[in-house]
Amino acid sequence: MKAFEYAAPLYEADVLELLSAEPGTTEILAGGTDLIGLMKKMIITPDRVVNIKEVASLGGIERDSLGVTIGAVTTLDDILESPDLDDYPALKQAIRCINSPQIQAQGTIGGELCQRPRCWYFRQGDGLLAQAGRLVAEGENRYHAILGNLGPAKFVHASRLAPALLAVEASVRIIGPGPEDETIMPLADFFRTPRHERQREHVLEPNQLLTHILLPPVDGFTSASYEVRHGEGPDYPLVAAAAALRTTGGLVTQANVVMGHVAPVPWLSASAAEALLGRPVNEATARAAGEAALVSATPLSGNGYKVKLARVAVQRAVLLAAGLETGGF
């Protein structure tokens, strides 16, 4: 670990002042479950670490007529225990899948969304784009992307909550770089596939801060998350999917289907939604949604099996969102 300067400001404005515009020189510390390991391995080597957990305005869960606002440093356990979020089962199911008391107690929702990819080439120091994607393409890619992987980025986005949050149409509040700068943007616009090593997996500038996650009122949405996991431990899923559905008279009027761990960004599938619209949810339509979601899949040399898994994950998330039996364990 490289020696670094540590700061623990109390106010949002002070955080912004402590952050540098230069990528890689300052890092934000929330739960630290990912950051500390990356620093110990010297994969990231900031000069300054800014702990945002002391900033009171970044914590807590508030519900009003406009929906629910979750502060970025709210822990996953606090979200799980909050009755204000009972209407968003997809979110709570995704947290339960993490299956790690330590990470749930320590990890924050902001950190969960901003955590770095698990790509082993990235984590052994080959860079996020793993030498322009060549190492991944020619190497061990069993856990890598099957969608959106034609450029150098072939990792999968690490967030396990993003599919659920995208499915229920969450937004995020971002501040900086200036003390008065504030943006609210759809979460769908927050993630991006990096094109070069100085970019991250989201649109934040190095001196911007994700402060809150905003959930619109449920308004008839039923939602669910489904992860295909190799085992019962805290390991990351092989693939994941979340679905949120609105139905009228037994027919789907709106569907958001999002896959996780299939692409460098959480993958919103318009074609899966299309397959459900105007139809009842049943095993056949859920399967059709799964098929549609993967039509454009471009698996790598060693991850073709993930296409099948992702189909199943979508199918089961859709069934679960409709309150139906999913099959499986």
């Binding site: 010297m42 082993w120 190492l135 190497g139 898994l309 499986g328 364990f329």
Partner: protein
């Protein structure tokens, strides 16, 4: 000298009971100090620079920048320009600093120029290994009813002979099976804290070889072993990989000497996985023929695997097929040299792979014949071939019956792929059986009985997992008729009398031998004193419930304390010594076995395998502590489930990088993955009377084959290579459909 013996069955007060570990509380509360927990005042932290490349030559090493990093106190190179590196992570230099962070920064600042050389790491691909010149086939080992004549061309003769044998078989199965390399993944990585007191070294070493590592430090440091103390009260996993001081232990001692400060060097997780030992892989192509009832008559196989870059260390052909012994065999072993970290012993070296490579084929014969795998295993039980294996087939048969009852095998059995599916979920049963030696290692102890009644024992042993302290306390307390708490057990220092390394399932046998002998001898001396005092014959005395008394007459005797007071001023010190010899010992023996059965559920849509139930029946001669014995088996089964379903070393095929060398990526079974585990200790009179036999390794052998067989039974398709990941299961189903 007395005839050493164990209490007659049914008469012991402690032997054969269930006892909690006497060091369980310190382990559970964190009071126990492992090597990793040892911190000395003014201690430096050391880290290794490991090679980033799998195969290269060092052109130059420049440590000047590292020496200038703030906090760095010493930089030492461990390789020279011109040296060839044969695996990623191999140690090149060591940096010691005031903090772990500074040591890591120092390591990062070392500049090394490498000349890159060709890399070969994918040994599963035999043809690629042959093309790369990395395959080193050994001569096939052949056994057939007919031998070639003087004029016969040997190869031609055997080819015709095997053709004939296969043509006579009622059923022939051709299979491919495999087990990749796995790492030991000790929770506590390898390493030590080394401190000097003038010219004497104290090495707090994480080791399974307390009595055998002092000279490994002494030689390279230019001192003799009498100036070295190796200390290890607790070890956080070794599994066969921690017998040595290792280059990184020696360099820590060297830097400690040169800087005059204690040095702690525990391997980082990635280096732990890359350089501190692996279990060799094994892949096999088999053709096996059997009669219509599944009795195998002919076996023809080639198997290959890697043990790293050096000499052959992959699975030997002598245990192929595993346990079974068909009348005609041709088997060839092909070691493959790869640019990967060298192997070290891994719990029952060779056996888990051999079992998973061959008892799978036996199960496929059952599948092909559509008959119960249990019956096929039963029909193929080997006839005893050595004196140690006498009645072995009967014991296996008995264990199979017990296992089948505990699994409810007959009720649950369905032919392969013919079970009732519940949606996409199918279930299946599989079994396997195993064999192991487990003879006691050499062990010497000193038993001290103090005039005030205090009892302690000293020996340079270690607790790799069997509950060494507890076992020793039980043996001594049993002999003296005392409670376990009355015995102080001192292990973990090379200053104590030498006891063997914990390898080969030898520890419980070894420490039981020395301590039973020593305490029986000590008791004889006490009996002599008490007999004189009571005016009775020494042979009429017994030690029971804290008294030394005339047998069956508690009133005619002395309390333990009174008896010990007869010693006068000095404690009684008796050496207990066991050396393996030609003569069988009355206290320990060799040869165990076990039968295991797995029940799994598989989701055909996701390829996820879940353990439902696992039954492990194991014999181990006379059982000292039923609780720690069962714990060993639970641990072994969980470790077996891990390598059957989760664990593997994953290498980048081009660079030879070990890509999943962190805990987040190196998958292991968690508690939620292991299902219900039923352990049965099999100890009929025939086994009790054989004395102690080790058990640490054997129960880890069968899970790979048993679980693979259960998955094959569920799916009706063999998933050929472990671990049975969703990827492999789905790919096998895909292929099975095609």
């Amino acid at each position: 000298m007395a005839q050493y013996s164990w209490p007659k069955r049914g008469t012991a007060s402690l032997i054969g009971t269930e006892q909690d570990r006497i060091d369980g509380l310190p382990k559970a509360t964190g009071m126990a100090k492992y090597a990793y927990d040892i911190n000395a005042p003014e201690m430096l932290f050391a880290k290794l620079l490991g090679s980033p490349h799998a195969h290269c030559r060092i052109k130059s090493i420049d440590t000047s920048a590292a020496e200038k990093v703030r906090g760095v106190k010493a930089v030492k190179t461990m390789k020279e320009p011109g040296n060839e590196i044969r695996w990623q992570g191999d140690h090149i230099a060591c940096v010691a600093a005031e903090s772990e962070g500074a040591a890591a920064e120092g390591v990062a600042a070392i500049k090394v120029d490498y000349e890159l050389l060709d890399v070969f790491v994918n040994e599963e691909d035999l043809e690629a290994a042959e093309r790369a010149g990395r395959a080193q086939p050994l001569k096939p080992d052949i056994k057939t009813p007919n031998e070639p004549g003087d004029d016969d061309d040997e190869d031609e003769f055997y080819n015709m002979e095997f053709d004939r044998l296969f043509s006579e078989a009622a059923v022939v199965v051709e299979g491919y099976y495999g087990v990749p390399v796995i790492s030991h993944m000790c929770l506590e990585p390898h390493g030590s804290t080394c401190e000097w007191n003038s010219d004497k070294l104290l090495a707090h070493l994480s080791t399974q070889n307390v009595s055998g590592t002092a000279s490994q430090f002494g030689d390279p440091l230019g001192i003799t072993a009498d100036d070295v103390t190796v200390h290890c009260d607790y070890i956080g996993g070794g599994f066969g990989s921690k017998f040595a001081a290792d280059a990184w232990g020696v360099i820590a001692a060297q830097i400690a000497k040169e800087t005059g400060r204690p040095v702690k060097l525990m391997l980082d997780r990635d280096l732990e996985l890359k350089i501190a030992g692996i279990r060799p892989s094994g892949f096999i192509k088999v053709k096996a023929g059997a009669d219509s009832e599944g009795k195998v008559t002919v076996w023809d196989s080639r198997h290959w695997g890697t043990a790293g870059p050096g000499a052959p260390g992959n699975v030997g052909h002598g245990i192929i097929p595993y346990v079974f012994n068909p009348p005609s065999i041709r088997r060839q072993q092909i070691p493959i040299l790869t640019d990967t970290g060298p192997h070290r012993a891994w719990r029952a070296p060779g056996h888990p792979q051999a079992c998973a490579m061959s008892q799978t084929a036996y199960d496929d014969i059952a599948a092909k014949l559509g008959i119960d795998s249990y019956d096929v295993f039963l029909r193929n039980l080997p006839k005893p071939s050595t004196p140690e294996q006498a009645h072995r087939d009967e014991i296996y048969r008995g264990e199979m019956e017990v296992a089948a009852r505990l699994m409810d095998w007959k009720a649950k059995w369905h032919p392969h792929g013919k079970g009732n599916a519940k949606g996409s979920i199918v279930t299946g049963l599989g079994m396997a059986l195993h064999t192991w030696g487990g003879s006691a290692h050499n062990s010497t102890c000193i038993i001290k009985v103090h005039p005030d009644g205090g009892v302690e024992t000293f020996l340079g042993s270690q607790d790799l997992g069997p509950g060494t302290r507890t076992v020793i306390a039980m043996v001594v307390a049993e002999t003296f008729g005392l409670p376990i708490s009355a015995v102080k057990v001192n292990i973990g220092s090379s200053r104590y009398p030498a006891s063997g390394p914990s390898g080969g399932s030898t520890t419980v046998g070894g420490v039981s031998e020395s301590n039973r002998r020593g305490s029986q001898d000590a008791l004889e001396q006490l009996f002599a004193l008490v007999a004189k005092k009571l005016q009775v014959e020494p042979a009429s005395l017994e030690a029971k419930k804290g008294r030394i008394q005339v047998q069956g007459e508690p009133s005619k005797g002395l309390s333990w304390k009174e008896a010990c007071s007869l010693l006068g001023m000095k404690p009684l010190e008796v050496q207990g010594k066991y050396e393996r010899g030609a003569e069988p010992s009355p206290l320990s023996s060799i040869q165990v076995g076990g039968v295991q059965m797995a029940e799994v559920a598989v989701d055909r849509d996701t390829g996820v395998v879940k353990m439902k139930k696992y039954v492990a029946v194991q014999d181990m001669g006379l059982i000292i502590n039923r609780k720690t014995a069962a714990s060993q088996i639970y641990g072994a089964v969980i470790m077996g489930i891990a390598y059957a379903l989760f664990e593997e070393r994953i290498m980048d095929p081009k660079t030879g990088a070990y890509v999943n060398c962190e805990t987040g990526d190196y998958k292991l079974a968690r508690l939620g993955d292991v299902g219900e585990i039923v352990v049965e200790l099999y100890e009929p009179d025939s086994e009790y009377k054989r004395g102690v036999v080790g058990l640490g390794e054997p129960p880890v052998i069968s899970p790979g084959a048993a679980i693979s067989n259960a998955v094959a039974n569920a799916l009706g398709v063999r998933v050929p290579v472990l671990p049975l990941t969703p990827k492999r299961v789905l790919e096998a189903l895909e292929e099975g459909r095609a």
